[in-house]
């Protein structure tokens, strides 16, 4: 009895897992809108809507995700490189408790927008499949690039896509 119940549950979990995958936000889709509090207290809320007309790089990160921590200082440099051309970064922190994310930021100051999404509601909206995942959004709100993970040589790939979007708009 136990065996049968267990195998049914496993099959359902597998099917659900597969269907979850197929609803992911892909290149060419419209980027979902969101409104999130900033991770730092006293800072204003952050939303995609407020950045209309800008090229936005949305990145999901956490303090426990090693490739994320490697990418963030590099993203800071990237932000300063392109911000005068209408480029913004929104790095959504999914740490729960939020303090873990704040602790990391004490040692590594970052100059772009950092909202906090501890319950993962916006990550769910974007159907994030792995950590980290980032989305390059054009000024018209379309997803130009979905980038999963962060490995050596990824900065070239990302910057190439950013320059392409900035040139086209």
């Amino acid at each position: 009895m136990n065996f049968k119940k267990a195998s049914h549950a496993s099959v359902i979990a597998l099917i659900l897992g597969m269907s979850f995958n197929s609803l992911a936000v892909e290149e060419g889709d419209d980027a979902p809108g969101f409104l999130l509090p900033a991770i730092q207290e006293g800072q204003p809320d952050i939303s995609m809507a407020a950045l209309e007309g800008k090229t936005v790089y949305v990145d999901f990160w956490a303090s426990w995700c090693a490739p994320c921590l490697k990418s963030l200082p590099l993203y800071n440099e990237m932000y300063h490189k392109y911000k005068n051309q209408g480029f913004e970064i929104i790095a959504i922190n999914v740490d729960n408790p939020v303090e873990d994310g704040l602790d990391f930021l004490i040692d590594t100051p970052l100059d772009f927008l950092i909202p906090s999404d501890p319950d993962g509601e916006t990550a769910e909206l974007f159907k994030v499949i792995g950590m980290p995942t980032s989305y390059l959004v054009t000024p018209k709100g379309k997803v130009e690039l979905v980038h999963m993970g962060f490995r050596n040589g990824d900065m070239e790939i990302i910057e190439e896509a950013i320059e392409k979007v900035l040139a086209a708009n």
Binding site: A13, L14, G17, M18, F20, N21, W64, C65, A66, P67, K70, I129, G130, M131, M148, G149, F150, R151, N152, G153, D154
Partner: protein, 385 residues
């Protein structure tokens, strides 16, 4: 007389087994790391009751382990392992019956044997979107033994990375050329080979627990006997299976993790064994971790084990008084303290191991007189860059 040839110390870090859980999408390691560990383990002397004649001192072994892991480019990782072992002491040569009818051990006559073993292995791994494949080759050499080995493995994630399945295959070709072969009428040169396959399935259960099950089968053929025993004859092939299960659980309230493992083993020499161990990984802030460990092991005897050598039997009959083939149980307890400072990790470990026929859950008809007890201490250093 020296130790039997030793098994590879290869620390297989590039398989699902040693990757930090399955929480992050598959990718080469983010940083490079260099690790070193130095250890000493010393077996307790035999008692006069166990060995009325000759030396009582057993093995005293120093081990040095080095490991280097690094990402290479975007999709590859490299791993290099080097080990060096220094051994001195004596091992059981033959067992006879005391006047009172109990088995007694005679250690190898030489006043002190010295042997050292060196090993080097190199492995690489290629990472795809949903998994990875890898291979490694290695070589080990000591004054009476040489081994060349290699393996390949592949793993894939399923079900939103909740499930990982990995398969691996390995092969080893070994040569044995015992020291003082002519003087002691030993075999001059023999060889053996070993082929092994394993499948491993790991699963994320919920936000704080994971489970893993693995099954392996190994086939050995060639010279499987211990050439340093006065009389010892074993079959020239051996098939063994092992089934391991592991559970990891994080305890939120305690800021600690609990590890428990169980392995079932059986081979066609007739040995069946159960191994159960657990450890508690307790954090103190972000700097110190204290890890107590407990292990219980018990095995049945091989079909041809005899605790007293029978010199009247023909040399072609299978028999061995090697304590490793007797029925016994073993309990070991250890403690590791680990500190993390910046990019450095340092660990110190102490462990005490006691084998005793009384600890066995299997029936013991012939207890060995040479069961081992030892104490190990290890110091480790790890640098990430």
């Amino acid at each position: 007389m020296k130790a039997k040839p030793s098994r590879s110390l290869l620390a297989i870090s590039t398989t699902a087994l040693a990757l930090p859980g399955i929480a992050i999408a598959d990718a080469p390691p983010v940083n490079s790391s260099l690790s070193y560990q130095v250890s000493n383990y010393k077996e307790d002397n035999l008692t006069r009751e166990e060995s009325p004649f000759g030396d009582l001192g057993r093995y005293d072994i120093d081990v040095h382990q080095f490991q280097f892991i690094s990402p290479i480019g975007r999709n590859f990782s490299l791993q290099v392992d080097a080990n060096y072992e220094d051994l001195s002491g004596a091992s059981p040569w033959f067992t006879t019956l005391s006047p009172s009818g109990s088995p007694i051990v005679n250690l190898s006559g030489a006043s002190g044997i010295e042997d050292s073993r060196s090993e080097l292995s190199v492995g690489t791994r290629y990472y795809l979107e949903n998994g990875s494949i890898g291979g490694n080759i290695g070589y080990s050499e000591e004054n009476d033994y040489r081994a060349t080995y290699g393996g390949i493995s592949a793993e894939r994630h399923f079900n939103n990375d909740l499930t990982t399945v990995s398969i691996s295959l390995s092969y080893s070709s070994d040569d044995i050329f015992p020291t003082d072969a002519e003087i002691f009428n030993r075999v001059i040169s023999e060889d053996k080979s070993s082929t092994s396959a394993a499948i491993n399935i790991s699963q994320i259960i919920n936000q704080v627990s994971t489970f893993q099950t693995a099954f392996s089968i190994t086939e050995q053929s060639g010279f499987l006997t211990d050439p340093y025993k006065l009389i010892d004859t074993r079959p020239d092939n051996k098939t063994q299976i092992a089934w391991s299960n592991s559970y990891r659980r994080y305890i939120r309230g305690s800021n600690a993790a609990w590890h428990v493992n169980y392995r079932f083993y059986h081979d066609d020499f007739g040995v069946t064994s159960h191994t159960a161990d657990m450890s508690w990984h307790q954090n103190f802030g972000n700097t110190i971790q204290v890890i107590p460990m407990l292990r219980y092991y018990n095995q049945s005897a091989a079909d041809f084990f005899t605790n007293v050598d029978d010199f009247s039997r023909p040399a072609t009959d299978f028999q061995s008084s090697d304590y490793r083939l007797s029925a016994f149980g073993a309990i070991s307890a250890g403690l590791t303290i680990k500190t993390t400072v910046g990019d450095w990790d340092a660990t110190v470990t102490g462990e005490r191991y006691l084998a005793n026929e009384k600890y066995s859950a299997f029936s013991v008809s012939q207890p060995s007189a040479a069961l081992v007890r030892y104490f190990r201490v290890s110091l480790g250093l790890d640098f990430s860059f």
